[in-house]
Amino acid sequence: MRKISDNRTDELKQITDKARKLMVEALICAGCGHPGGAFSCIDILVALYFEVMNIDPGNPFRSDRDRFILSKGHSSVALYTALHLAGFIDLKTLLSFRQDNSLLCGHPDASKVPGVEANTGSLGHGLSVGVGLALAGKMNNDSYRVFVLMGDGETQEGSIWEAAMSASHYKLDNLIGIIDRNKIQIDGPTEKIMALEPYKDKWEAFGWKVREINGHNLQEIIMVLKAAPFVKGKPSLAIANTVKGKGISFMENNHEWHGRPLKGEHAEIARRETKSVN
């Protein structure tokens, strides 16, 4: 796989900077929402929407589009921001996030927002939907791929493992799972709340080909996701090691910022830390 050029990497870096700035604004406007997990996965979303996926914002329902499912639906502000920057929704809509009569619900509603493929927010649902979409793709001889982003805490749900088993059973190499492995859930560190390790081994035992990546290194995310399927005949999983709250000093690695309203002094600091771009 060819590396992407340094120029393009710089461009993408600027897009992630802008995305962080917009997420701060949207969260401040909303007065509620889930910052931590959004900042940990935004680099992955930018990589997907700007390099990896075959999508067409002008024609969001094109049948050959790659599909993306945000199974960790509480990180909706990251998805909406990526959709805005990619051209699916306008800025006014983005900044209406979670407000009265907005199209942008706290957890995404596919019937309201172009580019959203599934209604998520109850954890543990997205991977099964991905399995179904990937199966349909195989049945219809379609070329699209299906990407499903999960939280690490989310994978404590049993339904994730039911889906994982079925994906390898049906040899769905058009399905790519991504784990936002920030090692933090709401009540604390995943390994303290309900240990996931040995995590890679678990996924491999369920028949997936697994790669670990740095979820904030755009080069690495793009190279690895573009290379999927990692092997023919198996679903692929990228465990993306990330930092919860990445980019906002007081949020980084702090479980208290999972779902705390961004306001007052914190809002000002977050604005300052993301203001570099326009």
Binding site: N119, S122, M194
Partner: protein
């Protein structure tokens, strides 16, 4: 009157119950600050079991704990408790009548702009259709305390539906909750307003205004015990007042309005009007905005009552 956080009040109550009932064990599914089981964890770390994001497993573990002689109380949002873990509750717990209590917070649309995934407008209907299940929906601090203690003293599964948010006290010192009994909050003979959960506040305020502004005397019954329901109080209301209005932060199908209608239909003695979520998933907005959209406000209850009685001519 100062408002109180319902979940905060619940958390304090659970700690007191922990002192009183040494077998009490709290289970949590990664929402301990929202449900406030964190207070119990701080007081009794050995008796607080964190299962992570795994509500079905939580219910199964609770069943096993009950079989082992413990008094388990599970914690999660009402949507995940009543729907994600539904069959586990019904088959593993309710069928053999195990002694498990389910504390289900953020019920109705009280989770606001988190949206439909986090709302529970179906849980009363689901839970009350399960045999052996007791369903409680207390609406202020005193009623929460009394219903939690009643639930712990009751042998068998109990679903306790709580809202998130701050509410004013409605119960006075003389008002008391007990399982299977309605609490009469206002006397009246023109119409009966039956409420459940936090809607009792709006019900009482509406009744006071109906009396003051329009001379309409509304009886108000708070039905925090949805199952078993107080048949006698409902039949009496039907006979005495002829008009019954139900108010709930739940779908108008299958909840309090459904339960009351089932009984009134047997008597054929009153008309029923149900105020609740109009069998639709809400738009995005704050809980207050959604309540406005669904007519779950004091003003709308007044309008509906006057229209129902044919006393809305201008």
């Amino acid at each position: 009157m100062p408002k109180k956080s319902l979940c905060g009040e619940y958390g304090r109550c659970l700690v007191e119950m922990g002192e009183k009932y040494p077998e009490l064990v709290a289970l949590e599914a990664d929402l301990k600050e929202s449900t406030q089981s964190i207070q119990f964890q701080q007081a009794f770390p050995q008796r607080h079991i964190e299962v992570g994001v795994a509500e079905q497993n939580m219910v199964g573990i609770a069943a096993g704990l009950a079989l082992g002689g413990k008094l388990p109380v599970t914690h999660s949002f009402a949507c995940f408790t009543s729907m994600r873990a539904c069959e586990h509750i019904r088959t593993t717990v309710a069928y053999p009548r195990l002694n498990v209590k389910f504390v289900a917070t953020h019920a109705g649309i009280s989770a606001g702009s988190a949206g439909t995934t986090h709302h529970a407008i179906e849980d009363i209907a689901i839970m009350r259709s399960i045999p052996n299940m007791t369903v409680l929906a207390p609406g202020d601090a005193r009623e929460i305390r009394q219903s939690i203690e009643a639930a712990l003293n009751h042998q068998g599964p109990v679903y306790i539906r709580l809202a998130t948010g701050d509410v004013e006290d409605v119960y006075g010192d003389s008002e008391n909750f007990s399982i299977g009994r309605a609490t009469e909050l206002r006397k009246g003979s023109d119409v009966t307003i039956i409420t459940t959960g936090t809607m009792m506040h709006a019900g009482v305020m509406a009744a006071d205004k109906l009396k003051k502004d329009y001379g309409i005397e509304a009886r108000v019954l708070q039905m925090a015990s949805i199952k078993p329901i107080d048949r006698q109080a409902i039949i009496k209301a039907a006979l005495d007042t002829g008009y019954i209005i139900t108010i709930e932060e739940h779908n108008v199908l299958g909840g309090l309005g459904g339960a009351v209608s089932e009984i009134v239909a047997e008597t054929g003695k009153a008309k029923v009007r149900r105020i609740g979520i109009k069998d639709r998933f809400s738009g995005t907005g704050s809980a207050a905005w959604i309540r406005q959209e669904e007519g779950l406000t004091i003003d709308e209850i007044i309008n509906q009552t006057r229209a129902f009685l044919g006393k809305d001519e201008k």
